[in-house]
């Protein structure tokens, strides 16, 4: 019996304590679910090309990404809501924002019998999420959708239960188009929602919307596409109803490029221009400016360089827009700041 236990222990020790091969760099990252599909794709492709670099990314929400970067428990983070000044002040090390892709937040819905793509006015979205518009056949919705038979059912509002950059983008948009929203709720990764069910991550929200009749939720474009959930068109600042696509997102970014702040923290929701999709956003990787471990630092810098060049080629396949060239140029300069 004793011999058996000893040999079992030895076997376990051998099998499980596989030392990382020398030269393997393990990076842990956490954060936004908004860009998770493209990030996970990138890390997978990069790992295949550079087997000694392994980047473990946990999509636990932008809020969690920011927190873990501040706490130093991950090597870098990801967020779709830029860090606030207070949050940046909390960090001992300077945190740099690196834009990675551009994405769109779309309103998805699941209304029995309605397969058409609905148009949502800015007032409609704000009203629904404020809990003031409660039925699908409310005039604010029906007037933008002549010819669509909307039921008189109650709207089931779905939002994020975890701290989310997608929430940041969406509430940022709502704050710009509705003064009431701005004063009552505000924009942040986690807000005090007037109404609605909470789903965890973009996956959770899309899951809830998919399974609940009469539901409406806000998610990143790719989740709607991958799950065949109908999503609607949103009215932009110029009054046109646009369904999210790469052109609309790129158009929204076009204006921002000229006035891009040095730290890249910019909002492009409700951008001017007839072709601009109103709920677009950059999303960022949060990289500490000082990284002690040389191997990790080099790996991160190499990955970022790859991301800004070859990596961008994968964006459109997953319905994210590429970074505008001027932005990439600026980012390469910021890369030198990582030491």
């Amino acid at each position: 019996m004793r011999k058996f236990l000893v040999s079992l222990l030895a076997l376990c020790a051998l099998t499980f304590t596989a030392q990382a091969q020398s030269g393997t760099v393990l990076l842990n990252a956490a954060g936004a679910t908004f860009p998770a599909p493209i990030y996970l794709k990138w890390f997978d492709v990069y790992h295949t090309a550079h087997p000694n670099v392994q980047i473990n990314y946990q999509a636990i929400g932008s809020g969690a990404g920011i927190r873990q970067v501040l706490a130093g428990t991950v090597d870098f983070g990801a967020s779709d809501g830029p860090m606030t000044d207070e949050q940046l002040a909390q960090s001992k090390v300077k945190i740099l924002h690196f834009p990675t892709v551009l994405g769109a937040v779309v309103p998805t819905y699941n209304i029995p019998g309605v397969t058409a793509s609905l148009n949502f006015t800015q007032k409609a979205l704000a009203g629904i999420y404020l809990g003031q518009i409660t039925k699908w056949n409310d005039p604010e919705i029906t007037k933008a959708n002549p010819g669509v038979k909307l039921p008189g059912d109650d709207i089931v509002v779905v939002h994020r239960s975890d701290g989310s950059g997608t929430t940041y983008i969406f509430t940022d948009f709502l704050s710009k188009v509705s003064d009431e929203w701005k004063s009552k709720v505000g924009k942040a990764t986690s807000v005090n929602w007037p109404v609605g069910l909470g789903g965890k991550g973009n996956e959770g929200v899309s899951g809830l919307v998919k399974q609940t009749p009469d539901a409406i939720g806000y998610i990143e474009l790719i989740y709607a596409l991958q799950n065949n959930i109908t999503y609607g068109a949103v009215q932009n600042a110029a009054g046109k109803f646009l369904k999210a696509d790469l052109n609309g997102v790129t158009a929204a970014a076009a204006g921002a490029v000229k006035d891009m702040p040095a730290d890249f923290r910019v909002s492009i929701t409700d951008a001017p221009g007839a072709a601009a999709y109103p709920i677009s956003s950059f999303t960022w990787l949060l990289i500490p400016a000082q990284i002690q471990d040389a191997a990790k630092r080099d790996a991160i810098k190499a990955f970022l360089k790859w991301m800004m060049t070859d990596g961008q080629g994968y964006n459109e396949g997953l319905s994210y827009a590429k970074l505008p060239k001027p932005v990439v140029v600026k980012e390469m300069k910021q890369l030198a700041l990582v030491q």
Partner: protein, 283 residues
């Protein structure tokens, strides 16, 4: 007493007694229902890929949970390492050496620890094993689970040691053995069957725990080398996949659930059969 009243009481008797029977079988039926659903839904997702492949990026179909299975095994190993010796030794203390007051305090504390919600244990493990070293790790997860292993192990060890009749102890002492030698070479081996089943039960319990792992082991797409990196685990994957929107991930969640459920039920079945045969109950 008039006939109507008697008839009423007799009918009430039959109705209520039948209802209790319905309740009992109903509860058992729920168990079989759960098991059935898992076998049905998880069964055809259990293929070779599930056991050998790593998870695929969001939206791509296929992939498996090989790293989660290994991660769970590593976590179980660590929790056994941390918790079983402590539990066993404390059980020996309580059964063989304990005085009155201190032993009472220990038993009360063990009960207390048993009742702590696993999420609170997760907070504790985060504060002790993640924050100071600034990263999530398998060790932190093993630590959290190790704490949860202790109460059941203590109770099982103490009960089975107590169950050994004193005549064995006296006989050994009469032959000149000191107390510790008696325990080590006579009592422990005699109680070993029951103690080991108690240990297996406690491991089976923590194998399914998710909450403490949320802030200790965190999760990992890849293999987790060594012990100080975040790791995936079966319960974590089940949680993550279940709340997602992808049907493929749902199927994998059912499969993982089946594996976990099967392991836990088998362990419990085996342990309880052994314990019932020995006539000791109530762990």
């Amino acid at each position: 007493m008039n006939r109507a009243r008697i008839i009423w009481r007799k009918s009430l008797n039959i109705v209520m007694l039948s209802l209790t029977g319905v309740a009992a079988f109903g509860v058992v039926a729920v168990l079989f229902l759960i098991l059935g659903y898992f076998i049905y839904n998880g069964g055809h997702s259990l293929n070779w890929a599930f056991f050998t492949q790593l998870p695929k990026p969001t939206g791509e179909t296929g992939g498996g949970m090989a790293n989660a299975i290994v991660g769970s095994l590593k976590l179980l190993f660590l929790s056994a390492l941390f918790g079983l010796p402590v539990g066993l030794m404390a059980g020996i203390y309580l059964a063989e050496f304990g005085g009155k007051t201190f032993a009472y305090i220990i038993r009360y504390t063990v009960d207390l620890l048993n009742g702590v919600p696993s999420i609170v244990i997760g907070i504790f493990a985060y504060a002790l094993a993640v924050q100071p070293v600034k990263h999530f790790s398998t060790v932190a997860g093993g630590f959290a689970l190790g704490i949860m292993v202790i109460p059941i192990t203590v109770r099982a060890s103490e009960e089975f040691l107590r169950a050994i009749p004193n005549s064995l102890r006296e006989g050994a002492m009469a032959l000149g053995a000191s107390k510790w030698k008696t325990i080590a070479s006579v009592i422990l081996p005699a109680a070993s069957g029951g103690i080991i089943t108690g240990m297996l039960l406690s491991l089976a319990r923590v194998a399914g725990e998710t909450a403490p792992l949320l802030f200790t082991a965190l999760g990992n797409q890849y293999w987790s080398p060594g012990w100080s990196q975040p790791t995936s685990a079966l319960p974590l994957m089940i949680y993550e996949y279940a709340i997602s929107a992808y049907d493929d991930l749902h199927r994998q969640a059912w499969a993982a659930g089946l594996v976990l459920l099967g392991l836990v039920l088998l362990a419990n079945l085996g342990c309880r059969l052994v314990m019932n045969r020995r006539g000791v109950r109530g762990v």
